[in-house]
Symmetry: C2
Subunit: 526 residues, 2 copies
């Protein structure tokens, strides 16, 4: 396990206070010594990223796609060694990580397809009108171009799909931006294996090596230096509100501010409408017991708030949910710190005024560490509305059932909610039309509306929106999942009366790339 930092696809001699990965299921150190990057490493990584940018951003689209596919190949070839290391570092089961590996390579291939097809650059051409009076119209052509070096922070909860070669890296590389990854300290070994895979792919494809760097740190200094570096042009982050907010502030206070795309969590409200509860209380309870506890509840889209009107159906749902939750085995959380936070926060919420425990799973086997028992608490809507602490995210297998007296109180709770990644409605067809007002309210605070499903499980596709109003993310106009995630790393550039020979292929009259374009207000491939 090579724990040296990777600067421009080369291992650099590293020293200083090393750190190790910890297996959260045992509390024991794993092999490998990882060294915090130095200021020189940060500077060299961004300097070489900037130098590589010039060639990489205008790389032939087939070559860029081949690079993304090669990364997927290299990751696939790591096979069970990667799954085992990721499992040891995260406490997540091997089966889940095998699925996550598929998602990770699938994302890379999705962006390869997008880049190769080519229309994503949104080419718009307005040709000259030389005879127009009083002034002729010039020829103006515009398309999206890459921003420059992007700093990606690996996330703890997806050691593959939101980490070194995760969606952010794939989208930035697809856009034409070199990437410098700050490895998450909870899974440095997984990061090292994937970083090495990216470098092998870059070398295989003959790319400028500055296209990728991977830096370690067990603290916050390297991350801060990366965000503050003048050559960094954008930053991505998935994690806590506190962490995201700190990075956003740093980026705003730079002499030249840069965008940060921070996904900072969400309580993902689920509204259970009366007829649905009346008809399918047991089914809903089973579905939500599974969703609340999936992956030890460590998903951005974990359903942390259940909302319903008092009814017999709700009573049946509560009974059924309590039974299901009690029977769910505690699972290992990602890190000791996350486990401690979960214990502290879930207990604190349960101890708030008016809150009772609806169901709590049994403790894990004796001797096992960092095992989170699921907890579902209950509170009356009136108490909920008067206590902002109850609206905060409890990261882990936790959910709070908020019980309203009537529809008016249901609406009042919806009005009080902050921005969310997702909002879910469980409903029978017949009752939906009655709740149009509620649905409109929920649409205003959310990035994705779900009917009769669960928010966990984020499909990676073009139509996905994984990003909601603040504080779920700091910029609801972008997504961090799906192919449109590429738009975080580009800006439009217009060329006026430009020399045809110097125009990018995407904007040439003959449309040599056969992409979809808007020409004089008509969508065409001609």
């Amino acid at each position: 396990m090579n724990g040296n930092n990777i600067v421009a696809c080369e291992y650099v001699a590293s020293s200083g206070q090393s750190f190790s990965a910890i297996n959260p299921a045992t509390g024991k150190n794993l092999d490998g010594d990882f060294y915090p990057a130095t200021d020189a490493d940060v500077n060299n990584a961004l300097q070489q990223a900037t130098e590589a940018f010039e060639a990489y951003r205008s790389l032939d689209k087939d070559k860029k796609a081949a690079f993304l596919r090669q990364i997927a190949e290299e990751i696939t070839s790591l096979g069970s060694a990667l799954v085992d290391r990721a499992s040891a570092e995260s406490g997540l089961p091997a089966a889940r990580l095998l699925g996550e590996m598929g998602r990770t390579t699938g994302q890379l291939r999705m962006f390869a397809d997008l880049v190769q097809e080519g229309s994503w650059v949104n080419a718009i051409i307005d040709t000259a009108l030389l005879e127009r009076t009083p002034l002729p119209r010039p020829d103006i052509r515009r398309m999206l171009v890459a921003l420059g070096p992007v700093v990606v922070f690996g996330a703890s909860n997806f050691p593959l799909a939101f980490s070194v070669a995760g969606g952010d890296t794939a989208a930035a590389l697809a856009a034409g931006c070199p990437v410098v990854v700050k490895a998450h300290p909870a899974h440095p070994g997984t990061s090292a294996m994937v970083g090495d895979a990216i470098c092998r792919a870059a070398k295989h494809c003959g790319l400028p090596q500055g296209v990728f760097s991977l830096l370690y740190d067990s603290g916050y200094e390297v991350g801060a230096a990366l965000v503050k570096h003048s050559q960094t042009k954008a930053v991505t982050f998935t994690g806590s509100f506190k962490g995201g907010s700190a990075l956003i502030k740093m980026a705003q206070e730079r002499p030249v501010p840069i965008p940060v795309f921070a996904e900072m969590g969400s309580i993902n409200p689920v509204v259970l409408l009366p007829q649905a509860l009346n008809k399918r209380a047991d089914e809903l309870a089973a579905k939500y017991a599974a969703s609340i506890t999936l992956g030890a509840g460590q998903f951005c889209t974990n359903p942390g708030l259940l909302l319903a009107i008092r009814s017999d159906g709700l009573n049946q749902f509560k009974t059924s949910l309590a039974t299901a939750i009690k029977n769910i085995q505690p699972a290992t959380m990602l890190t000791p710190g996350i486990f401690n936070n979960y214990q502290t926060l879930s207990s604190a919420v349960a101890a708030e005024k008016g809150v009772s425990v609806l169901a709590q799973a049994e403790a894990g086997e004796s001797g096992a560490v960092n095992q989170a028992p699921a907890l579902v608490a209950e509170v009356a809507a009136q108490e909920f509305l008067s206590n902002p602490k109850l609206m905060e995210e409890v990261f882990g297998p936790f959910s709070l059932l908020v019980v309203a007296d009537d529809e008016a109180q249901l609406n009042a709770v919806a009005d009080a909610l902050q921005g969310q990644l997702t909002t879910t409605i469980m409903a029978e067809d017949d009752e939906l039309p009655e709740y149009t007002g509620l649905l409109n309210k929920l649409a205003n605070i959310t990035g994705r509306l779900i009917l009769n499903g669960v928010p966990t499980g984020v499909e990676v596709c073009a139509a996905m929106q994984h990003g909601g109003p603040y504080p779920a993310t700091n910029d609801s106009r972008y997504t961090s999942v799906g192919s449109t995630a590429i738009y975080r790393f580009v800006r439009p550039l217009a060329w006026q009366d430009w020399h045809p020979s110097l125009l990018p292929d995407e904007l040439k009259d003959s449309n040599p790339l056969r992409i979809w374009r808007q020409v004089n207000n008509h969508i065409t491939k001609d």
Copy 2:
């Protein structure tokens, strides 16, 4: 002239310390007493905008288009009365304002066309794959939806096209966002006339009146209150770096931060390449004398920096430019404050070390006030590179010619430049290939590249990009001119397994609006 504030399309009784418009050509007050809005006005405007939002955002697209067209009609019907008032308040000639009125109504109609055609919402549909293993794919559909109430700051330099019913208002209304305008204090009468026109259109179209408000203030308090109001969802501003930066900071420090789109000026470098100077020095001089002094140099895209390598052609250009500049009559600036700033800043730059005056226009007629004489200064590239003061914008008919010894120095100057709205190259075809490196550098710092033209005159069309890297704007990913300006006021929303009857028309299977959509990764109108 009714100088009361307009809250939700109704005049409200106003009081307090009124202010008047000043005719900058005479220094005398114009008729009309305008009253600063109160906190209650700000609050009522945003409260009613929020209430109107629910109905307005989902208004039938034909009705929204009809509203935009009706505003254009109402403005057109104001005719010469509007042009005369705008001319008296701004010092701009009637002919220019007649043109600007055409641009303003043209923009409104352009957005009406865009909205009516409908494809701008970027609908993306990924249909369910129920047989997929291990998990079925849900049905996910996404489109862009309006953000909510938008606060528009009127700009001083375009009393029609970037003011009450200017591009920002037109784009926000087209997106489905109610608008609250903070009138620019330099042209309150023009603002009042246009505000009244918008309200007539809203009433004519039977819209919720909260869709538009117009508030006055001669200072900064009302603007600050608007930006800080919890119901404001986005802000647009065109003006100084200082003003824009203050608004951005306020918006970032809110409990829920919101986007500000600030266009904060630019020096719009023009690179004159050797062969072009050698062949057409006189033509270039005439073209640039006109561009530098157009509208008293009060354009965001005014060419404030000319850059060339020392040569005989350059000497000829200088002689010719000096002659042309000397013969240009001084023109009235927009306000006494802007005139004073121009005098102070242009003199200060001319007094910097190594700077000489290449040409200065004669002073205006005696007795005339706020008349800006054009000034072109000259400095060697070496001095320019060591003095950051020379890179700051001088708003007015000013340009600085920076003379490089050789191509290396030209590149060094390009490396030193900050973000720009535009960059222009004057070149012969033959010499362009030599300067690829320079062109790439300039592309990285600019929003619009122009070949053999002038940056003044911003075409309003789909391909336009009016927005460059910081500090030209604070968000280079958006434009404030052209139809894509609408994308500042929307965010994506995804619907998962949503009930067909509740989907917006844009996302229904049958595509009842016949818009272009992306369905399962294919672009189609089916």
